[in-house]
Amino acid sequence: MNFVSVAHLSKSYGDVKAIDDFSFEIDQGEVLALVGPDGAGKTTLMRLVCNLLVPDSGTIRIADLDVAGGFDRLKEMLGYMPQVFSLYLDLSVEENLIFYAGIYGVTGARYRQKRDYLYGFSMLAPFARRRAGDLSGGMKQKLALSCALIHDPQILVLDEPTTGVDPLSRRQFWEILSEFKRQGVTILLTTPYMDEVARADRACFMFGGKKLTEGTPGELTGSFKGELYSLDTLPSTDLIKRLNDIPHLQSRRFGTGLHVNLDADLKIEDVSEALRAAGVDPGHLVPAQAGMEDCFIQLMEQTGD
């Protein structure tokens, strides 16, 4: 039996289908990342899971309890971190912790022990008396995570927890998540960052409220079709236009260069010709390993067709 089981979930806002027949499952102690661009429906999905929105159709079960009917019993085992920072800015770090601990009935020695344990990960102890509003973005997110973890939840639902957070804090954040995963906490999170997918056990790509695909990071990158090349020089508009004229070739900007993907029946020599015509040395085009982003965009374009 899966710990979290979401089946055929749909939710519309007027004519807009925010979530369209979405299903996924998570095992206990597993980290599932929902990946997609802004507007893909990630936040709506998180809110549905946390009973903050009611689905038009479909079911959500957590720990064998139906969210629609048994959410009150689920509250104690759920830790939720909304996308928008939702702690009290005029309260200090410690006061926010005390408040959430108190709501969940974590008090006295049990609270202090839990607090010190979480400070050990978050490094927030020196800032205990600082107002939450005066914290940096990364510290805010670590505090929010600490508040979501203060009552030993069995499942963590995190909506874009690392958006707008510096790389160092992001790494620390993931280290905290790994620790709780080791303790058996099931984690459902969303992220717009493709590189974070590699840290999850499994990921769902989502776009336009639909699930594109699902799998382990290895499965996802392995599903890439075609041969990928990387152009490690600044492309001109002339070059981009010439490349787009070649059938069975997809190119897109990647960093300062281009990622060029060739279908099976297209040879690299055909591309070299276009490069020379645009005055670019074909030596700049080198074979590349398909990353998560390449896979995602390929899937997105296939769905669009």
Binding site: N51, L52, V54, L91, I98, Y100, I103, G105
Partner: protein, 368 residues
């Protein structure tokens, strides 16, 4: 209970750290009392006046009939108790009592001078002033009708005695009422933003996934403000005493007790509004709209409830200020006791329970 305590403590932090709103809480009531502390005078009809007729002659009955014939005076619903004429004032059943001692009929027939007793409830300054004027006029008409034209008026005079506010100082009448209005408005304003603010800043989203019931959130938010509003009440009363010299006849403790119930009711209005709207701005607007105007116009603050059309009289029953006005005027000016006022406290508690109940039922545990 534990969760209510944690929410209360959090709210206290919010209040104490927001210097600007704290200043409003402390300065606004005093400023409002000062501004509104000047009287407005209005004509009054249908003053309830009891008549104690000890003379029991055709003349005494005719005199009473003459008073009631005018639109200014009406009969009390219950019979007067001749041994304790003031009881009707304490119970708020009449604004004046005319005592016709025996010998009035004989004096009138013989043209002797005679003095009628008129006791007026001075705690309502408007009514008291009006009674004095109207009673004199009514008596003049009565005497003129009974005499041949040109005859000299006999020496019948009215000896008015104004109870509770002998100087008919309008501030004595208005300032206690003002305390009721100011407390209501401040209280409703204070709580009206509390839930709306959590909706605006997004903090409610996380709170809703925590094991806390709506009614616990509501009570936890009301509790800290009870003390703040009560402190405001004391502040305004001290100010009333120092600036306007309003007397305080009754029990301070009794008024404090009723004040506690009253501010809790007023805070419930704010919390009800807050649980229904989305933004702080709308919440504040509604809080002003639903407290200020109805309370000033319909509670008896300026216009006596008994002079209103019956529809508005019913409306006044759901305005908390209506009850507290009677209580505060009763305690401060008349020295009324718990027994006479307890029913008003009961009404306030019922109003509070209804509002918190509706707020809890309407409190959305979901977004959008």
């Amino acid at each position: 209970m534990r969760r209510i305590r944690h929410i209360t403590r959090k709210e206290l932090y919010h209040i104490l750290r927001d210097a600007r709103s704290l200043a409003i809480v402390l300065v606004m009531p005093v400023a409002m009392t000062f501004l509104y502390g000047y009287a407005i005078n209005l004509d009054i009809e249908n003053i309830v006046m009891g008549v104690i007729d000890l003379d029991q002659t055709q003349h005494s009955r005719a005199l009473a009939g003459c008073f009631y014939h005018s639109t200014y005076f009406s009969k009390p619903q219950e019979e007067m108790d001749p041994t304790d004429p003031e009881r009707v004032f304490r119970e708020g059943r009449a604004s004046a009592v005319l005592v016709i001692r025996s010998g009035f009929g004989r004096a009138l027939e013989r043209g002797n001078s005679f003095s009628l007793g008129l006791t007026i409830d001075g705690s309502d300054n408007n009514i008291a002033g009006a009674v004095r004027g109207y009673a004199g006029q009514a008596l003049n008409y009565f005497l003129r009708d009974r005499l041949p034209p040109g005859a000299k008026l006999p020496g019948v005079i009215i000896a008015p005695q104004v109870l509770y506010n002998p100087d008919l100082q309008s501030s004595h009448f208005f300032v206690p009422g003002l305390v009721a209005i100011v407390l209501l408005m401040i209280s409703a304003l204070l709580t009206s933003v509390t839930i709306a603010r959590e909706k605006e800043t997004g903090t409610l989203e996380q709170l809703l996934t925590a094991p806390v019931k709506p009614v616990e959130i509501l009570l936890g938010k009301i509790l800290p403000y009870v003390f703040i509003a009560l402190f405001d009440g004391v502040l305004v009363l001290v100010f009333a005493k120092l600036v306007f010299g309003v007397p305080f006849v009754g029990s301070h403790l009794l008024l404090l007790g009723f004040g506690l119930v009253y501010v809790a009711t007023a805070l419930s209005i704010g919390i009800l509004i807050s649980s229904l709207v989305r933004t702080q701005q709308v919440a504040m607007m509604y809080a002003m709209m639903f407290t200020m105007l109805p309370s000033v116009m319909l509670s008896g603050f300026i216009f006596a409830v008994k002079n209103m059309p019956s529809l508005l009289q019913y409306l006044s029953l759901i305005i908390p200020a209506t009850y507290f006005l009677t209580v505060i005027r009763g305690v401060m000016l008349k020295g009324a006791g718990l027994g006479e006022l307890v029913i008003h406290g009961v009404f306030l508690l019922v109003l509070m329970a209804i509002m918190i109940g509706v707020a809890a039922a309407k409190f959305k545990t979901r977004l959008a």
